[in-house]
C-alpha cells in the first residue's frame, strides 16, 4: 500500500512546485512580454499580448511537472564529456602555435572585408581580455571598471590628436602610459579593499570616467565625442585614397598599387593581431616570472604571503597597473579604428562583456580567454537576426556555464616549474 501513496504524494508535490513556477513565470514575463508599447499616431498605447505569457507559463508548468520523470529518464544516459585539451609535447605545441599564427596572419588576404573587420574587433577583445586576465585571473582582483581604462586610452589618443595633432603611433605608447597611471593612482587607495568591495569601487570608477567624458563638454566634446580621428599609418604612409598632407604620398602610390579600401581593413587587422600577440607574449612571460608567482601566492593566501615579506600592496598594484596599460593600448587602437570616440562606447556593459570573456574562458587561462573573446565577438555578429535576444542568449550561456563548467571553457593550467629527481 505504501507505493501508490508515495507516488501520489510525489505527483502532488511536483504539481505544487509546477504551479508556483508557472505563477513566477507569469510575474516575470508579464512586464517584459505581456505589455507592449505601441505608437498609434500621436499616442503611445499599451497593447497586452497575453498569448506569449500564456505560452511561457504553460511551458514552464509542463517542464516542472515532468521534471522528476525527465530526471529519471536521463539518469541512465552517459554524462556529457567535457572538452579536454589533448596533451601535447612542447614541440607539438610550438608547431601548433606556429601554424595558428601563420593562419592568423595570412587568412585576411583571402577572406571577405566583413569577416576581417569582425576579426579586428575580436582581436581588440582578445587584448582586453588578456589584460583583464592579469588583474582578475592572475592576481584575483575583481575589477568591474576595466572599461574606464579602455576609455582613458581611447580618449588619450583622441584628445592628443584633437588638441595637438598627434598621430596614432606617437599617441599609442602614451595612451598605455596614461591608462597605467590611472590604474596606479586608482589602485593606491582602492586595493586595500577586498573582493566585493573592490568590485563596487572599480565599478564606480568606470562610471565616473564615463560621466566625466560626457560632462567635460568643452574638452572632450561631451556626448558627441571626438570624430575625424585618423587611422593608423603604415610605415608613415596613410592608407587613404589621396594624401592627407600637402605633397605627401599614400601607401598605394608609394608601392605602385591600385587603391583599395580593403588594404586599410587588412592593415588594421594585422595591427590588432600584433597588439594582441604582444599582450599574449607579455602576459605569458609575466606568469612565469617571480611577479607571476607572487600574484598567485597572494591570491591563494595573503597572510602567508605577508609573513614571507611580500608587499601585498605593491604586488597587487603591479597587476592593476599592467592590466590598465593593456586596456589603454586597446583603447587607443579602438579610437583609431572607429575614427570616432564617444562615451557611449564605454558603458558598464562593456566591462561586463570583458569580464565575461575572462570568466567564460577560465580565469587565468590565456588560451581560454582568447577562445572566449573570439566566440563572444563573432557569435553576436553571426546571429544578427537574433540581436534582440542577444542579452537573453548571453545570460543563458552564463547560466549554462555556471552549471556545467564553473571553472571556464579551458580552465587555467598554470605552467608549473618542473625539476627532475
Amino acid at each position: 500500500m505504501a507505493a501508490p501513496t508515495s507516488s501520489r504524494d510525489a505527483l502532488r508535490s511536483s504539481l505544487g512546485s509546477a504551479l508556483i513556477a508557472a505563477v513566477l513565470t507569469a510575474l516575470v514575463t508579464v512586464p517584459i512580454f505581456g505589455l507592449h508599447l505601441e505608437r498609434a499616431g500621436m499616442r503611445t498605447v499599451i497593447v497586452p499580448q497575453w498569448s506569449t505569457v500564456a505560452w511561457a507559463c504553460a511551458l514552464v508548468f509542463a517542464v516542472q511537472l515532468l521534471r522528476p520523470w525527465l530526471a529519471r529518464a536521463f539518469a541512465g544516459m552517459p554524462r556529457l564529456q567535457r572538452p579536454q585539451l589533448p596533451a601535447a609535447t612542447p614541440r607539438q605545441r610550438q608547431g601548433l602555435l606556429l601554424a595558428a599564427l601563420l593562419i592568423a596572419v595570412s587568412w585576411p588576404f583571402f577572406a571577405g572585408r566583413n569577416a576581417v573587420d569582425i576579426a579586428t574587433l575580436a582581436m581588440i577583445y582578445v587584448m582586453l581580455g588578456l589584460g583583464l586576465n592579469i588583474v582578475v585571473g592572475f592576481a584575483g582582483l575583481l575589477d568591474l571598471g576595466f572599461v574606464g581604462f579602455y576609455a582613458v586610452g581611447a580618449y588619450t589618443y583622441a584628445l592628443l590628436f584633437h588638441w595637438a595633432g598627434w598621430s596614432f603611433w606617437e599617441a599609442l605608447p602614451l595612451a598605455g602610459a596614461v591608462a597605467a597611471c590611472f590604474g596606479f593612482v586608482l589602485g593606491f587607495p582602492v586595493l586595500r579593499l577586498r573582493g566585493d568591495y573592490l568590485a563596487i569601487v572599480t565599478l564606480g570608477f568606470g562610471e565616473i570616467i564615463r560621466l566625466l567624458l560626457i560632462n567635460l563638454t568643452s574638452f572632450t566634446g561631451g556626448p558627441d565625442g571626438i570624430s575625424g580621428i585618423p587611422k593608423p599609418t603604415v610605415l608613415g604612409l596613410p592608407l587613404t585614397r589621396s594624401p592627407t598632407t600637402e605633397g605627401g604620398t599614400t601607401f598605394h602610390q608609394f608601392f605602385g598599387l591600385e587603391f583599395q579600401s580593403l588594404h586599410m581593413v587588412i592593415a588594421l587587422y594585422l595591427m590588432a593581431l600584433t597588439l594582441a600577440l604582444v599582450t599574449l607574449w607579455i602576459s605569458s612571460r609575466l606568469i612565469r616570472m617571480p611577479i607571476g608567482r607572487a600574484w598567485e601566492a597572494l591570491r591563494e593566501d595573503e597572510i602567508a604571503s605577508r609573513s614571507l615579506g611580500l608587499h601585498p600592496m605593491k604586488i597587487k598594484l603591479s597587476a592593476f597597473t599592467l592590466g590598465a596599460m593593456f586596456a589603454g593600448l586597446g583603447g587607443a587602437f579602438f579610437a583609431a579604428r572607429q575614427g570616432i570616440v564617444n562615451p557611449e562606447s564605454f558603458t558598464f556593459i562593456e566591462s561586463a562583456l570583458i569580464l565575461a570573456i575572462v570568466v567564460l574562458g577560465g580565469m587565468g587561462s590565456q588560451l581560454g580567454v582568447i577562445v572566449a573573446a573570439i566566440v563572444l565577438t563573432v557569435l553576436p555578429e553571426l546571429a544578427r537576426e537574433f540581436s534582440e535576444y542577444r542579452m537573453l542568449i548571453f545570460g543563458l550561456v552564463m547560466i549554462l556555464m555556471m552549471v556545467w563548467r564553473p571553472q571556464g571553457l579551458l580552465p587555467m593550467q598554470r605552467p608549473h616549474l618542473e625539476v627532475g629527481p
Binding site: 617571480p290 609573513s307 616549474l417
Partner: protein, 255 residues
Amino acid sequence: MTQALLEVEALSMRFGGLLAVDAVGFALQPREVFAIIGPNGAGKTTVFNCISGFYQPSSGRIALAGASIAGLGSHQVARRGVVRTFQNVRLFKAMTALENLLVAQHRQMRASFLAGLFNTPGYRRAEQQALDNALHWLDYMGLRAYANRPAGNLPYGHQRRLEIARCMITRPQVLMLDEPAAGLNPQEKKDLQRMIDALRREHDVAVLLIEHDMGLVMGVSERILVMEYGKPIATGTPEAIRRDERVIKAYLGEA
C-alpha cells in the same frame, strides 16, 4: 651577556574588554631556542601575532637587535628577518612544493621587470640560483621527491616541514614556530626536535617556539616562558619550570 636579539617588554594586547596579553616580556638571545607554553587560550599565539606584525600591540616594546619593530606591517617585520609558521599550516596549496620555496625568495630576487620579460642571461642566472636554493632546502628537509607535487597534497608532516623550509629560505634571524609538532607522530616529533637543533646551530637562527608537547619543549628549549590568562607566570630553564609551583598549579589545577 651580549645584546638580546629580540626583546619584548611589557607587551599588552587588548581586544575590547579582553586583555589577551598582559605585560609579557622576554629576551631572545642569538641562537637560543625559547619556548612559550601555557594552557589553551593563554595568549601565546596573540604574542606571536604581535611580534610578527599581524596585530598592532596595545602597548609595549618589541625590538629586534635594538631597533623597534612594534607597529610595523607584517611584511616589513618579515623583511627584517623575523618569520613565522602558522598553527594551521598556511602553504600555497595549489602551488608545488618547489614553487612555495621560490615565492619565499621573492624579495631577494632583484631581477628587473624588463630583464624577466626578455629572459636575459642575468635574469636566468637569478632564477637558477633561486631554484638551486629551493632544491637545497627540499633536500635538507627530505622533500626532494615531492618537489613537483602541489603543496596541499603533501602528507601533513611534510607540509609542516615545507612551511619551515619556506621560512628558512628567507634567511631569517628569528624563526617563530607556532605549534610545529601538532599532528605529528612520535617519530616525526623526534625528527622535528633534531631539526630545530640543527637549524639554530647550522643556520645561526634563534627559535621562538609555541608548543604543547612537553617532551619536545623540555628537550629542545633553553628557556621557557609560561603564560596563563595572558599573564606571564614564570620564566626559566626547563628544570626550573618543571619544579615551579605556579606552573604546576596552572597545568594541573589546584589540588
